[in-house]
Subunit: 230 residues, 2 copies
DNA sequence: GACAAGCAGATTGTCGACAATCCAGCAAGG
DNA sequence: CCTTGCTGGATTGTCGACAATCTGCTTGTC
């Protein structure tokens, strides 16, 4: 008997398919914050009935990237500067925890995976594919969570990631320019391979702060413009 | 114009109603871990069609207390000792963060609410209502999260709470005895009113450890028995 | 002109029925 | 015996239609 283990087969329900499509559309900014999702129109476009679409929407509501008002509609969440600050400050705490927990569990496979994901980010950067760049950067960042051996933590982070990805996409689309080609993750990867856990934790916190400031500034700008318009 | 603020009117959709019913049934242990939810039977019992029931289930799946396998069914999540450990270790970190953030925001209303919730726990304890005791204790515990002024954190904690409540209920039902009448929250409340934030954080961590040890021990016992049976 | 009542259109919420899938049990073949 | 393939029943996934609700406009009244 060969020792080949098969991965579980893909769930091919329309619902799961729809969830993926919608999530991607939201996280890449194709569906803008605050925008209403018309069930009938989307169902027709996807050639699907409303039942699985609505179920998919309920999932994304609970995932935190959609919000639903009974008899009024389902909307992409609004992104406020406060939301971004909140998400980031929580992310810092979780990062420290994830590093602490994954630290003693780092092994050969961890380092391989670290390099693989780092390489993916660099590739996306070379390709000037900003969307993919955000995705891969978050996946790189997520490795410590996957390795922390804490299902609840991982779940929490993935939920947080959805929002972060959405915020980043919004930011990227807005300033409409490619991120600096220099590799900002070099230090992060090096520290995760090293022996000083405290240093890794500190870097994670500070590295986050950099992007964060810019993102919040951008969001505050958005809000100022919006309030002027209204 | 009077300064009376009305609370939003109740969402009267069947779906919301069903979510409440199911959540309560799960968190109080009326639906046991691992148990399958038969859509047709539940729909008939609730006198509701399957559509809103299924949508409600999707919400609870994303909430983390149900799990769904396509074409097989939707089940109450299984509670493993590891899950409990994971939830608790994360809870510790979040508690520290919540205390830190809510600390400078404590005001008169905070202290009032703190007393009110503390009183509710004591009342439930006097009534020997274990289910309500769990609920109220978690609500007391949740105050720092509500006051931390961080929507993402609050959201995260509420999700975590669902699991914790489920674990506690399981535990309570199993040992089938009332919790000690002495008030274990006295110190917690006092420290939250005090001036030493570090002390409050330490206490939160240690107080949690107490219940935690017992709960994990119980869960491990469960699993040992289960593996023997299988 | 201001305002309330009411109507029409659009959209969401719910329903009952049908299609796709799974599972246990049994028969056929080695 | 063990394995393979089939079949019937039960359950989940999906569909199209109907009911409930909201929104904006029109109308009538003052």
């Amino acid at each position: 008997m060969g020792k080949l283990d098969f991965s579980p087969i893909a769930d091919t329900t329309r619902r799961a398919e729809i969830v993926g499509l919608l999530r991607r559309a939201i996280l890449t900014g194709q569906l803008e914050p605050g925008q209403k999702l018309n069930e009938l129109r989307i169902a027709e476009q996807m050639r699907v009935s409303r039942a699985p679409l609505r179920e998919a929407m309920r999932e994304l509501v609970q995932e935190g990237i959609l919000t639903s008002i009974p008899y009024a509609g389902t909307f992409v969440i609004d992104v406020t500067a406060k939301d971004i600050e909140d998400a980031y400050s929580l992310n810092k705490v979780l990062d420290e925890f994830a590093i602490e927990r994954s630290w003693p569990l780092r092994d050969e496979r961890f380092f391989e995976e670290l390099d693989r994901r780092h390489e993916a980010v660099k590739q996306a950067t070379r390709d000037r594919d900003t969307t993919r760049q955000i995705e891969t950067a978050l996946q790189l960042h997520g490795l410590i969570y996957e390795w922390a051996d804490n299902a609840v933590l991982l779940d929490t982070w993935q939920r947080l990631t959805s929002r972060l990805q959405m915020y980043f996409a919004l930011h990227q689309r807005a300033r409409n320019e490619v991120v600096p080609a220099e590799d900002v993750h070099e230090t992060y990867v090096r520290l995760l391979k090293g022996a000083d856990m405290g240093a890794a934790q500190r870097h994670a916190r500070e590295h986050i702060d950099l992007d964060f400031e810019e993102l919040v500034a951008y969001a505050r700008g958005l809000e100022k413009r919006a309030s002027k318009g209204a």
